[in-house]
Symmetry: C2
Subunit: 196 residues, 2 copies
């Protein structure tokens, strides 16, 4: 397998984490966003959205971090990381959606404004949305070790990355003690790897 | 089953469409957003995000439109609307992600600014993102009747709703003829229902 990433992409980190936890060897191709390599014609043939991550497995190509997570979980993870029964799969999907919405457009875009990698948009708008996401996570994790199905799933991987770096965006994890404890639990999973 | 909606929610429309196409009877509970019924304590117990749709099936409760689509497809749709093999499921997931990103935060938020239901944010920022989404759809649909797996799946349902109303947001579907033709194909599927 080949994984296209940029060195700083949190969405690519999600896929690197699962590949490592599943002990799947893979080749990494690092694109340079400063040279717009993610918008180059050759790369747009793999992903017309012009974003990392992209996962290539033989003749199959998948863009979007959640699609990559679903592919790896189904191909290599049995029922553990993504169950196939209706209720279990939908429970995981809820948290993939939170990661795609409040955590990405809230926590991550707020962090982007704060650390200067996002030029447009309004910090307070993003921050308000991100704080909603943290409150939803806290509500769930107050009485549960993991987000879905009572065990680590791709729901945890998808929500972990931008939550763990949220303090760089001015979000206080100490005010969300169950979230802070869950971040540490994810980091203690066998195969966890650092951001860069 | 019970489905919580607001009369104008496009995300709730996605779930109504699939319920109808699957011929699943359900009770509709219409919340009034002007009276903040989606932020009332009783509703927040069902969905801490304070959003519709919410689907209730016996003692199971699911929030988020993509999670509701996954639940219904897996429970009632066999392999048709969401296959369980790794590649097929990931292919569908890619388009659920597009619907959660470019189509929601681009097309729909742009439309929200245009028709006056979204107070904050910048139209051009949303519109640029939405146009990217339309271009990705057009690229796929130029040579494919459906978004994933060569047949109608929840990928089409998820992407259809905010695309079909995008002209209200100033997006020209005539400039994307394959998208416009696909919108008509979705509307010809047995069980299709109108927005309101």
């Amino acid at each position: 397998m080949k994984l296209y990433i940029t060195s700083t992409s949190g969405n690519a980190w999600k896929v690197r984490l699962l590949l490592s936890m599943l002990k799947q060897p893979f080749e990494t191709i690092v694109l340079d966003p400063d040279r717009k390599e993610h918008k180059a014609p050759e790369f747009l043939k793999l992903n017309p959205r012009g974003q990392v991550p992209v996962l290539v497995d033989g003749d199959k190509v998948f863009w979007d971090s959640t699609a990559c997570l679903v592919y790896l979980a189904r191909k290599l993870g049995g029922e553990q990381w993504l169950p196939t029964d209706a209720a279990g799969m939908a429970e995981v999907q809820q948290w993939l959606a939170l990661s795609n919405n409040e955590l990405h457009y809230g926590l991550q875009w707020g962090r982007g404004k704060k650390i200067g990698i996002r030029a447009i948009g309004d910090y307070e708008e993003y921050a308000m949305y991100g704080r909603n996401g943290l409150a939803v996570l806290e509500g769930r994790l107050k009485n549960n070790e993991w987000l879905a199905c009572g065990r680590p799933t791709i729901a945890d991987i998808a929500c972990y990355c931008y939550t763990s770096v949220a303090p760089e965006g001015g979000f206080d994890l100490a005010a969300h003690p169950s979230v802070a404890a869950w971040v540490k639990r994810v980091e203690a999973l066998p195969g966890w790897v650092k951001r860069v």
